[in-house]
């Protein structure tokens, strides 16, 4: 049976198995645990002690607590990934066996509140190889050099600051261009209409 929140695929077996664990927790506590899991998905620190306190009533073992967090993480992020609205999510969770009255509706209400920020965060985390941070420039005017006594040419210095996503470091890439080359970069053709790509 296909579920929208699983991307129109079958629901994974482990999720099915853990739904019954979720039903053991009272709905009020489930909503609070959801709030913590959403904090983790949005990039803030998760408060594991609070979750342990909330699950202590249901007498869950440590393996079950981790499984609860994992299954809530999966449901919320997968629903956001496939842009599932809160109503459909609620009906699909009920099909999986989560009791409607409190659990499914509470979970979906928490999801609905945070759906937009969650999708923004997932968009920001998508694979991105490198990112342009900023560009700095300077124009110099060369008066003379060891090769030629009167040069009188403008020269453009550019520094591209590139951010490496993985290592969270900024690398500077310096480039120096003559005035004509800079025109080619900017306008795609040299002043005077010479086609781009001709070398100087």
């Amino acid at each position: 049976q296909r579920f929208r929140f699983c991307g129109d695929l079958d629901c994974p077996d482990w999720v099915l198995a853990e739904i019954s664990t979720l039903a053991k927790i009272s709905s009020v506590k489930l909503k609070l645990i959801c709030a913590q899991v959403l904090r983790d998905l949005l990039g803030e620190a998760i408060e594991y002690d609070k979750i342990l306190k909330l699950t202590s009533d249901a007498k869950l073992e440590s393996g079950d607590v981790k499984a609860t967090i994992a299954v809530l993480s999966f449901i919320l992020s997968s629903a956001a990934k496939h842009n599932v609205d809160s109503e459909s999510l609620s009906s699909e969770l009920q099909q999986l066996g989560l009791p409607k009255a409190e659990h499914a509706s509470g979970l979906c209400r928490s999801y609905e509140e945070k759906q937009s920020p969650l999708q923004d965060r997932l968009r920001a985390c998508s694979l991105r190889l490198s990112q342009l941070g900023s560009v700095r420039w300077r124009v110099d005017y060369t008066l003379s050099s060891s090769e030629l006594q009167e040069v009188n040419e403008p020269v453009v210095h550019l520094t591209f600051n590139v951010r490496d996503r993985e290592r969270d470091k900024m690398t500077a890439v310096p480039v120096t261009l003559s005035a004509n080359k800079f025109w080619v970069l900017l306008a795609g053709e040299a002043p005077g209409g010479v086609a781009a790509g001709t070398s100087w």
Partner: protein, 199 residues
């Protein structure tokens, strides 16, 4: 299968009968800690002071025990063989029995530690992917060119490396087909026969 203990090894273990019963327990504990966490010279010094024996003797004794335990666990020798191997050291029966007990109690744990020491190839950690469509470039406008960009995260001995790969959908389908053929090989008779024999 009998263990052959070198003369140096025998000399190191020779300090055990002199140390007495309680000391053997202490040295055994130090040997196991050394296997789990690496050498601890401080702990050896404390033990030396407590038992009133030289630090060097304690060190040699611990190392001798470590080697004895790792070799026995590596070869998974039986009780009888272990007993016969240490018999050559000429220890008392009581000492032999405590050494045997030390070996049997910790054999499984030592084997799992030894298992982790084997060299490892980089292993899969995670895969990020992205589907893009190129619509235009400087040279050509109005194109439709799909491409899948992947970042393969690999783990090698706690070192994380990442490899960026890019392919078009047709090549990706071919890659998936090749991998599925490789998995399908497991179901062939040849593989099944070998797997059955290994179990």
């Amino acid at each position: 299968m009998l263990l052959v203990l070198s003369a140096e090894h025998r000399a190191h273990l020779g300090c055990l009968p002199r140390a007495g019963g309680a000391a053997v327990g202490e040295l055994g504990r130090l040997a196991l800690e050394q296997l789990r966490r690496g050498a601890a010279p401080r702990a050896c010094e404390t033990a030396a002071r407590k038992l009133n024996i030289g630090v060097d003797t304690i060190q040699h004794g611990v190392e001798g025990l470590v080697y004895l335990l790792t070799e026995s666990s590596k070869l998974m020798i039986s009780e009888v063989d272990f007993h016969d191997s240490i018999h050559v050291l000429g220890f008392s029966d009581e000492l032999n029995k405590s050494l045997l007990q030390l070996y049997l109690d910790n054999r499984k744990e030592i084997r799992s530690i030894l298992g982790e020491l084997a060299p490892r190839l980089p292993s899969y950690h995670s895969l990020e992917w992205r589907l893009d469509v190129q619509l235009a470039s400087r040279s050509l406008r109005q194109q439709i060119k799909p491409a899948v960009t992947m970042k393969l995260h690999l783990n090698q001995n706690e070192d994380q490396t990442a490899q960026v790969l890019q392919t078009d959908p047709a090549t990706l389908l071919h890659l998936i087909q090749q991998l599925e053929q490789a998995l399908g090989e497991m179901k062939m008779n040849h593989c099944r026969r070998i797997v059955r024999n290994m179990k």
